[in-house]
């Protein structure tokens, strides 16, 4: 019920989406809202809700959309909580929640309270609804007001056709007003109004696009021409109004007028049953026996397993009796007896306990009739089927869980490898290199303290210096052997000075080269160190992965529990449904038994008459 409002305001919300993106960067919430819109337009409310709830923050529009999605998913309590929260925040903040959105929330809440039977709360919410200048919600508002205040509804002097022209609820509002008028003994005015209403049913097809969603059909969202009342609904409305007119005529004893309407009533309307009953009522009053007989037979044919059909069966005989056709009446009562037998057989056959799969496909004819005509049963059926849908999704969830578990395991194995072999190896290697590097550095420093350390030379100067040093070392030996080394020593000294000069000249260049190379090495080392650190960080994911594993195991357990809960709930509901069906069966069997008894009595009574007449005729013949 509450669902019917939901698509409308969801669409209204979408209209308020900005057509122009204000800036290139979107707000986070906006992104989620628009992604949720994608799922919403593709008629996947569960998906849309999921997306919406992942947003880090939600603005009021998103909250309203969430409420609407909950309604689509048939979760009115969650929707109500959100709406109330939204209104509360709006009150505290004084930040004007856009009027249209506020009205939407209030109307939804009012409607829900009505469904729960809490009229005072509904009234409270309704009274807080403000008149939006476009009057978009006028229809909803008026209708809800009617339902809340019934039967003391406000009745204008004339039907508000102009005011309500764009409202899809117009027919209901006006017909309710007519009914209220009839109750107030003004049935002639009521009839006038209804007569004015009937041709206007086609008018309401010209609606603004968004209010068309009151039909609850999302499909029409995508049609560019806009909403058109489905032919079915228009017809149903016309039927309803016709029937109401007929009822009023009957109250006023205007049987002829009622006759006109009922004689032409469609056979396949949802109200055909009521229409036929009314018709048979007035025909009985008017004693139009042949027509009445036809109607009774129609009832039996068109409404199998219904009270009206069963009662009609014995009434055929009764009417024939009334028409002083006892032989025909006897035949009819006989037929009725067999009919009752057959009905008992049939419904006992068809009333077997239902399985879920049968519920999906409707079950037997008798079962279908019970499910569609009783509110409780209907609701039970819907609930069982809703749970079925949830259960059908379970294997998919299971698969997702299994895949994630696989992936986590794989990653953990990777982690182990990383931690156990690769990382230690790399770390050792790096340490070795670093050690070598610092050794080299030390070595260089040491050598630099020496004025002309051999280590800091290379190439030709290195050879020259080493030969010089070798020669210098031989000097003391020569001196010992008594040679004159003065000149020699001087020459070596000069060589040394030359080399010294060369050394100083090239020192800067060589230093520079050395420093560069050291730097490159140092960079390489630090890069490698960084990579190693990064890898180590990755290796640190073990803890997180284990946590994820744990989480997955828990989710798996929850999933199992949830499935069980869903299943057991479904079984419970199914059992209740079958129990109620059995009760109905027993009731109907009892009723049929009673009718059979009554029929037998009538049959006996008529048989007497027939026998008497036969006797009289016989006796007449013999005399």
């Amino acid at each position: 019920m509450v669902q019917r409002l939901a698509p409308a305001f969801l669409l209204a919300l979408s209209i308020s989406l900005p057509w122009q993106s204000v800036s290139a960067q979107f707000e986070n919430g906006e992104k989620h809202y628009r992604q949720a819109a994608w799922s919403f337009y593709l008629q996947q409310p569960a998906q849309a809700l999921e997306t919406l709830q992942l947003a880090p923050e939600q603005d009021k529009r998103a909250q309203l959309l969430e409420a609407g999605l909950y309604l689509q998913l048939n979760m009115p309590q969650h929707a109500t909580t959100l709406l109330e929260d939204l209104l509360l925040k709006a009150e505290k903040d004084q930040e004007a929640l856009p009027q249209s959105l506020r009205n939407i929330a209030l109307l939804q809440l009012a409607r829900y309270q009505l469904e729960l039977g809490d009229k005072p709360s509904a009234k409270r919410y309704l009274s807080a609804v403000s008149e939006s200048d476009k009057g978009e919600w006028l229809g909803q508002q008026q209708l809800l007001n009617q339902l809340v205040n019934w039967p003391d509804i406000s009745i204008p002097n004339k039907p508000d056709f102009t005011l309500l022209a764009m409202q899809p609820e117009m027919p209901y509002i006006v017909s309710n007003q007519a009914l209220a008028l009839a109750r107030a003994q003004k049935s002639d005015i009521a009839l006038q109004w209804l007569a004015q209403l009937k041709p206007r049913l086609n008018d309401t097809a010209q609606q603004s696009f968004w209010s068309a969603l009151f039909s609850g059909q999302w499909r029409f969202l995508s049609q560019p021409e806009g909403f058109v009342y489905p032919a079915q609904e228009r017809q149903a409305l016309a039927d309803y109004i016709g029937l109401t007119q007929a009822q009023l005529h009957i109250e006023r004893q205007e049987f002829a007028a009622a006759d006109v309407i009922l004689a032409n009533f469609a056979a396949d309307s949802a109200l055909s049953g009521t229409a036929l009953s009314l018709y048979s009522h007035i025909l009985t009053e008017q004693r139009h026996i042949p027509a009445l007989l036809a109607v009774l037979q129609q009832q039996i044919k068109q409404q199998p397993f219904s009270q009206s059909a069963w009662q009609a069966a014995t009434r055929i005989g009764e009417q024939l009796e009334r028409a002083l056709q006892p032989r025909d009446a006897l035949g009819a009562y006989h037929w009725a007896e067999q009919y009752y037998e057959q009905q008992v057989q049939l419904i006992q056959q068809q009333a077997r306990p239902l399985q879920v799969s049968q519920l999906q496909q409707g079950g037997s004819q008798w079962q279908q009739l019970q499910l569609s005509s009783d509110n409780n049963l209907h609701r039970l059926q819907q609930d069982v089927l809703a749970l079925q849908q949830q259960l059908a999704d379970a294997p998919i969830r299971q698969q997702r869980l299994a895949q994630l578990q696989q992936v986590t395991e794989f990653k953990l194995v990777q982690q182990q490898q990383l931690l156990r072999t690769q990382l230690p190896q790399l770390t050792t290697k790096l340490q070795q290199l670093q050690q070598q590097f610092s050794q080299l550095q030390q070595h260089i420093e040491l050598a630099q303290q020496h004025p002309m350390d051999l280590a800091l030379w290379q190439g030709q100067p290195y050879e020259q210096l080493s030969r010089l040093e070798q020669a210098e070392q031989r000097l003391p030996l020569l001196k010992q052997s008594g040679r004159d080394v003065q000149g020699y020593a001087q020459r070596l000294q000069r060589l040394r000075s030359l080399l010294q000069w060369q050394y100083s000249n090239t020192a800067t260049e060589r230093n520079w080269q050395r420093t560069k190379q050291l730097q490159i090495l140092s960079e390489l080392l630090s890069n490698t160190e960084q990579q190693l650190t990064a890898l180590t960080l990755q290796g640190d994911q073990t803890a997180r992965l284990q946590q994820v594993q744990h989480q997955l195991a828990q989710l798996s357990a929850s999933q199992q529990q949830l499935n069980l809960a869903l299943l057991s709930r479904q079984q419970q509901l199914l059992a209740e449904l079958n129990q109620q069906l059995q009760q109905k069966l027993q009731q109907q069997l009892a009723g049929l038994t009673e009718l059979k008894r009554h029929n037998k009595e009538s049959m006996a009574r008529v048989m007497e008459k027939v026998l008497l007449t036969a006797d009289t005729t016989n006796s007449g013949a013999t005399l």
Partner: protein, 157 residues
Amino acid sequence: MKSSILAVVFSLYCSLLHAAPAPDFTLKALDGANLRLAEQRGDIVLINFWASWCGPCIQEMPQLDKLAQKYQMLGVQVWGVNVENDSAAAKAYLNKVQVQFPVLFDTDNSASKAYQVEAMPTTVIIDKDGQLRTVHRGYKPGYEKKYEDDIKTLLRE
């Protein structure tokens, strides 16, 4: 231990279910429009997988056309899905023999794979809730009566 038993029970329960959801797909039709199965929720959809080289498929076409026209107003759609990688021959055929219902082209065979189509033609019927209800493999004259019976049953639900 307990949980695995329950899992078995649960899976048993699931296998008792009759209907399975029909795999969704979006394909391009002859007139250039893109049609998606999931958007037809609320209608009964009969999908006929066919190829231009398959005799019975060609034989079946006019029957499908008749069926389509007869049940159009009651919320029943007939879709032809051509499974050939090269749709030239099929389009040539459709040029000569025009049908009223949409013909879609599954050139990369994604849809026919999803429906495990092996025999030609294959006709599947999907109910108003998007559940796959019947599968008919092959075609012999008179099969169209079976399709019609299936449709009538589904309409009554």
